[in-house]
């Protein structure tokens, strides 16, 4: 019905905006990545240097470290969130007094702006005003100082991420668990399986697609974390929490190394998309296909 021209007209503004703000910047940054350009250097002009930026990048310890920290951060945060989130989801499947209320409270951190999350954790952990260092010192004699202790700062960023995003995992896995059929569980109980066996052989295989989808969503977000960490540590102490997003910002703005910053941007974009794509194709898609085949059979 209707002519397709009307349809294209309705779609046109969306395509125009996403084209101008999505495709143009991509090709622009790709173009810049093959140039040397620092407007405040001795030679402020743009010079074509082929793939030199990318060659420099492979041997850039700072960049590789930030990449490594980002991966480590994403790994610890996502794994903890999946484990804690799964346990909480499992607990929420039974009925108890005030369940809806507790679930609502548990959902709350999701809507808090990342920059506010960073502020909150900064106020909690800054020595002399924060409550965490105060009691750690009073009860255990441990001096927590995220301004000088690299490991402590890294751990706090992970804890902050767990606080912020575990509810997402809980609620997505809860949705998956409640939609499971009851029969296999009853059958297993009749056959005398214990809780662990039921979890390992029945629940886990059945909710695997939901777990993988959640990992996929969380990983994508964890890899681009900037705001919270910006506020909490500013990437410090040293470069202990300078994740790739912050690293790009530091290369591009304070150092105005536009060409090299572009090369890093392109590589980070490539790695993020490839990682997500691999995870999706390698883990999520085959399960979906297989479960479809099973359903058809």
């Amino acid at each position: 019905m209707g002519s397709n021209r009307t349809g294209w007209l309705m779609l046109a503004p969306t395509l125009l905006i996403l084209g101008v703000f999505g495709i143009v910047p991509f090709f622009y940054v790709l173009y810049l990545s093959f140039h040397q350009w620092n407007p405040f250097a001795a030679n402020p002009n743009m010079i074509f240097i082929g793939a030199n930026n990318f060659r420099r990048l492979v041997f850039d310890g700072e960049f590789l470290t930030s990449l490594w920290f980002t991966l480590k951060f994403a790994f610890f945060a996502v794994v903890s969130e999946i484990i804690i989130g799964y346990m909480l989801a499992q607990m929420l499947t039974r009925d108890f007094y005030g369940k809806g209320f507790f679930r609502t409270i548990h959902t709350l951190p999701l809507i808090v702006a990342p920059i506010v999350v960073g502020s909150v954790w900064r106020l909690m952990t800054t020595p002399s005003i924060g409550i965490i260092p105060y009691y750690l010192n009073k009860w255990f004699g441990y001096q927590l100082n995220i301004g000088s202790d690299a490991t402590a700062a890294f751990i706090i960023t992970v804890i902050m991420d767990i606080w912020h995003w575990t509810p997402l995992v809980t609620l997505t896995l809860l949705a998956a668990i409640v939609s499971l059929p009851k029969d296999p569980f009853e059958q297993a109980q009749i056959d005398g399986a214990n809780r662990w066996q039921i979890f390992w052989h029945i629940t886990l295989p059945m909710i695997r697609p939901a777990i993988l989808a959640t990992v996929f969503i969380r990983l994508m977000d964890a890899l681009r974390t900037v705001d919270e960490v910006w506020m909490l540590t500013g990437g410090g102490p040293g470069a202990a929490t300078r994740f790739v997003g912050l690293h790009i910002w530091k290369i591009v703005f304070p150092k105005t190394d536009y060409g090299y910053g572009s090369a890093i941007s392109i590589i980070v974009l490539y790695l993020t998309l490839v990682m997500c794509w691999l995870l999706y194709v390698g883990l999520v898609a085959p399960r979906v296909r297989r479960s479809k085949v099973n359903a058809d059979a």
Binding site: M1, G2, N4, T6, G7, W8, M10, P13, T14, I17, L18, F21, G22, V24, P25, Y28, V29, M91, F96, Y97, G98, F102, T104, H106, T107, L108, L110, I111, V112, A113, I115, V116, S119, V120, W121, I129, I131, Y134, W163, L168, A210, A213, T214, I217, R224, V226, D227, W230, M231, G234, V244, G245, I248, W249, V252, S262, S265, V268, T272, C276
Partner: protein, 278 residues
């Protein structure tokens, strides 16, 4: 995992709720204390409430401008995005557009890219390329309103599409047979039925725009700064004004809390990109 006694389960959930709420409560505690009280031993309880931090924030000309900008930018963006997504979804749902599934998928990928990657091109485009005479997009509210479409528009299209697809085509056809124009069909038939979905989209995109920080911090300098960037300024420049910073953070938090209470059920579907529906 095994809670045998309901009491133990209850205690567990109370402790967990405490862990969830305490950081936000602590933010509030800091925001209602005078600066001199902060550095004595941290006290969890409030003896007196000191509102001056809020008074200071609300009377500060600069911060008031930031708040105003935040409201204008998030509202402008949410309305723009919802309207565009409504028409885009209608087109994708009702017209036989070549390669429409590819178009749909491409719009979604726009949101997967990390914002940090596009900081430099956006900065250069906004300061040098997207200029019309003396007018540049850099440091303007309209610049941010358009820019936020890159992450909000894919989201809105993703969440609205099932709503529009779910409205039976027969209704459109019946109205067309009765002599209604396409515009009348959209206004009289589709829009009223899509209204709940549109409301949720509008509210969630509003919050995403309100919460955004990195792009706003990079692409504004003075006129169009938002509240989230104001919050970050208080940390980098003056480490001593913790109370003021906490008060700004609470003010940034309030609209999100209100929204949370209104559309709580839809937040999950929104954040998981519709992959999981509750």
């Amino acid at each position: 995992m095994q809670t045998r006694s309901p009491l133990i389960g209850m205690i567990f959930w109370i402790v967990l709720s405490f862990v969830t709420l305490f950081p936000i409560y602590w933010l509030f505690v800091i925001s209602v204390k005078p600066a001199v009280d902060l550095f004595s031993s941290p006290s969890v309880f409030l003896d007196t409430i000191y509102w001056n931090n809020y008074a200071k924030v609300l009377t500060d000309e600069t911060l008031r401008r930031y708040m105003f900008n935040s409201v204008v930018i998030s509202s402008g963006n949410a309305i723009l995005v919802t309207v565009l997504a409504f028409f885009a979804c209608y087109a994708l749902s009702r017209y036989n557009i070549a390669g429409k599934e590819n178009i749909f998928f491409w719009t979604i990928t726009n949101r997967m890219a990390p914002a940090a990657v596009f900081l430099l091109p956006f900065f250069l485009l906004f300061t040098q390329v997207f200029a019309f005479g003396d007018f540049k997009l850099y440091d303007t509210r309209i610049g941010l309103i358009l820019l936020y479409c890159t992450f909000n528009l894919p989201f809105a299209i993703w969440t609205l599409r099932p709503t529009i697809d779910g409205i039976p085509k027969e209704l459109d056809e019946a109205a067309t047979v009765d002599g209604a124009s396409t515009w009348q069909v959209i206004r009289e038939v589709v829009f009223p039925l899509a209204r709940p979905g549109l409301a949720v989209t509008l509210i969630l995109t509003w919050v995403f725009a309100w919460n955004e920080f990195l792009l706003a911090a990079t692409l504004t300098s003075f006129n169009a700064r938002t509240l989230t960037t104001g919050l970050s300024e208080y940390v980098t420049t003056t480490g001593t004004e913790w109370g003021t910073m906490a008060a700004i953070a609470i003010i940034t938090l309030i609209p999100a809390l209100i929204v949370f209470s209104v559309v709580q059920r839809h937040i999950i579907a929104g954040l998981t990109f519709g992959a999981v529906k509750e």
